[in-house]
Symmetry: C2
Subunit: 646 residues, 2 copies
Amino acid sequence: MVNEIQQTSSASSSSRSDGGSSSGSESSKDNSRCSTPVLDADRHERLREKMRRRQEAGDRWFSLEFFPPRTANAAVNLISRFDRMGAGGPLFIDVTWHPAGDPGSDKETSSMIIANTAVNYCGLETILHMTCCNQTKDDITGHLQKAKRLGLKNIMALRGDPSGEEWEEEVDGFNHAVDLVKHIRNEFDDYFDICVAGYPKGHPEAESYEADLRHLKEKVFAGADFIITQLFFRPETFLKFMKDCQAIGITCPIIPGIFPIQGYHSLRQLVKLSKLEVPQEIKDVIEPIKDNDAAIRNYGVELAVSMCRELLDSGMVHGLHFYTLNREVATTEVLKRLGLWREDPRRPLPWAVSAHPKRRVEDVRPIFWASRPKSYIYRTQEWDDFPNGRWGNSSSPAFGELKDYYLFYLKSKSPREELLKMWGEELTSEESVFEVFTCYITGEPNRNGYKVTCMPWNDDPLATETNLLKDELERVNRRGILTINSQPNINGKPSTDPIVGWGPSGGYVFQKAYLEFFTSSEIVTALLKVLKKYEQRVNYHIVNVKGQNITNAPDLQPNAVTWGIFPGREIIQPTVVDPVSFLSWKDEAFALWIEQWAKLYEEESPSRMIIQYIHDNYYLVNLVDNDFPLENCLWQVVEDTFELLN
Amino acid sequence: MVNEIQQTSSASSSSRSDGGSSSGSESSKDNSRCSTPVLDADRHERLREKMRRRQEAGDRWFSLEFFPPRTANAAVNLISRFDRMGAGGPLFIDVTWHPAGDPGSDKETSSMIIANTAVNYCGLETILHMTCCNQTKDDITGHLQKAKRLGLKNIMALRGDPSGEEWEEEVDGFNHAVDLVKHIRNEFDDYFDICVAGYPKGHPEAESYEADLRHLKEKVFAGADFIITQLFFRPETFLKFMKDCQAIGITCPIIPGIFPIQGYHSLRQLVKLSKLEVPQEIKDVIEPIKDNDAAIRNYGVELAVSMCRELLDSGMVHGLHFYTLNREVATTEVLKRLGLWREDPRRPLPWAVSAHPKRRVEDVRPIFWASRPKSYIYRTQEWDDFPNGRWGNSSSPAFGELKDYYLFYLKSKSPREELLKMWGEELTSEESVFEVFTCYITGEPNRNGYKVTCMPWNDDPLATETNLLKDELERVNRRGILTINSQPNINGKPSTDPIVGWGPSGGYVFQKAYLEFFTSSEIVTALLKVLKKYEQRVNYHIVNVKGQNITNAPDLQPNAVTWGIFPGREIIQPTVVDPVSFLSWKDEAFALWIEQWAKLYEEESPSRMIIQYIHDNYYLVNLVDNDFPLENCLWQVVEDTFELLN
């Protein structure tokens, strides 16, 4: 890539060479620069720009449609699905508007909140559907304002299905999607990217196919940025529609809506709702196997793959939109077979970024929330600025409190009964707690034969990176160093390393070894003696639930523990150990003992009292080995501590 | 070091746990943090705090007094002396107020401008003397405002010698130093650190020694922060004075003024001015050798060393103030013998920092000015903010123009005749210019037998670090790659490395290889072909005097080329290659051909036309090898280019 820089600034400066002194105040204004090296162009572009860039680069992409779930439990599962399917690299997801489900409310199953969660907590570019019929201007403006506040940037503007039999158009009301498009542009200018629906066979209520095309053109000319189509069964249906659109002057992207047939009943229901007709050749295949779900799904996948191939091969299609019906298998299978599923996801940063526009510049976080990124996002949601470049001096970053551990996107995926099986129906001593930690590390079943696949501080099995430290972790957990977070030291591995890599290719990533654990005050006393030998090499922070805190951090400065060096960019240092944030994390980490573990047991029960004892008396410790090019000394620190105790 | 963190923020947050949602606006305010990892506490403390910290740590220190020179040439030399003596690590220097020399003016020999240069361009903590008698309040306020504006933070408040025989105290005027102290505190609150003079033998005009002590106490109680004494000849004089001060309640630091006798006449003159009496034992030694300067100086050094030792050994003295008389040898000798001269200066950053308070947070600069740091400071003097943490996105940092290449602190130390001997009385071809560059690199004499010790872009001989690249540099300069800046790649050397180290101990420093040179358009054409093979690995910027510019920098982002990883701190990345600043540097780098070289020759002379031709037709090129862990590929790039040309 070769850029020709415009020479204006330089030219004007040399033309001033005869005049007086350089203009001070102007200069200093120009000097307030954003300090974000663009690591990931995606974070800085709006959806329509991403689409344009992908198309120009000849990239192919996909997107995924979901509907809001009915129950809180289903919401938990849907969010996990967002995380899993998000890893495949959709350009965006969209969440349908469910008028009967109080879609703009704060309920955990509302369209608004599901979309909010996708953007903020799963980091997905998200389109929120919105329908307008039977609603007042104020209602709609309120919904849009709320969406904007939550960080949503894209709206799919729809008319929606009128409720009640005798719906009639209202004068000055929202009668068509185009009214909503106009309203959004009037009230919110260019803030939102707007998507509208296209009907390859014409809208069932339209006077004619041609009339419907004209309506579509109206929507686009009113300000829509792109079109997603209703599902269709034959590729030629879409290709004809696209040509017809172009013929009447619609030039924006038109994305085909793909519906992989996943079962007999879902197909029938969808067909009924959309008033589409299933082609005879498909009916002929399906009817005979209608009770064999697997067979239908296989056929559906096959059909979708072949249709998508034809669309992509036409050269007219760059992106495919999938109606997932909130299911994972069929769509994923189609995407994998098309080669669109990102097999080796490149992480732009070592942690999962949020897609809220406010957080666009965020590129550094304390390491403490590494396994609880959604909690970190929740506790910093009120921040107006996000640290960028450096975490900065530790003048009390104000973390919101984590008072509700049951927020559906923070909730454990496992129900109480499972947790009890993993963590012990009955605890008899501190040592039985050590065992739980050890089983989580080793992956071995506990004494009752159950694998421990999550912990209060980690809702997922051990990270691949942590696996590198498995043997050492097992040894120390057995002896009461109850580890909840750790990373190995890394001295310049390629940024494309499948385990520890992140950021653009061609770079090098580095880490300081980190270890965080709960442990008893006896061990802390010995540890502090041992640490004297390691002064400067090892930084430590040791704190109990009451906030008694011991550290050797110079001037309470943060310590960068992960950083990357990339071609043509400034240094990126995405994780730090910040002494002050540690005290906010401490509150959360100690509370998790009670909220997630102790409360599984009856009040006053011995099990509960053991956890309460640990909560009240143990210390939370973190250690950093600053000498990242040498062998990690933290295990030796722990060994020395045990030796001193014996 | 063990810090107990106050738990206020955390405690208040848990006491809020019953109340509503976390308070958003408060949080975000708290979140605007300074992002300066404190690398060098010295940059962040005021002088009195530095003194206190040194005393508490049991460190010993020294300071140096200079007077403003009479001529511009002497000013150039004095600034070089500041640079050299600054390397020895004085806690501060001070510049006397020379009422006859228009001390508050903008003349290059004024007290104000010499102090300004020391602070801003030499990075020295500086005290400006100021006298008050025979001056109006407005004059004095004006001087103080100007001092503040220039970044001076310390004033030595003196009465000064009244001019004219019949001086009388004025009612409401400035009759004594204490009036000036009060005025500074009234008008500038606590902005300045104030020093006052103490007279170990009593002021010659004082009624008595006791009365003079009372005056001193008045000055301290009016707001002075510390005392520097008049010179004295016997340590017991000072120690008695110090005890007497303490006895009447003076508790601030009292710094003995040390005067190493450097010559017979300077001693006589000083004694006359200060109305002090030289003890007989000293007279007895000096009189017989009064015409032997070296002998007197040796004796003076001996005497000063033994007096300083006695003072330091008393345990009452932590710092020594030297009256240098603007000379270097005697004072440096005394300091070296006392072990106070910093033999291994630790650089806080790879470039020389400025001591202006505005620049306290500055920790990143473009690499282009590496050999012209004073020019960089000059061209950014109007900035209100300085980049910190990251250079940031390249939205036109507004550099002031460098229109006066003859500013005394930017002026070459060599006169025109010497420059002609080094760079050629007569140039015959571009090749004779190549030869000058080559001789500068090799240190070999040129064809007329003169060593080339400076170049328009480098006023000093080759840096030690550049010496590491000497052979390669010689080879390429011979062939018309005229190098003006370079650094080798470094993959994690200790921060204490004597050649490439910087920052606190215990860290690791890194560099990407960098090469900057002028070269012909033929070579550039070949180079661009070669660079295609190195895409991503090598970033380049190639520009001619007209501003035609070719680069492969991604999105014109800056590229960090020097960084350091330290215990318990965030990453420091003090130098970047910034595509946009390069265009401002380009103007300066091209102009130096004309201003410093071409103008040595007659207009229309062939020599001048050769330099003008190079200026008009050559390109300025910079190259960065991003793969710092591998062997530097830039030499291979250049070899490949030459090969392509053959």
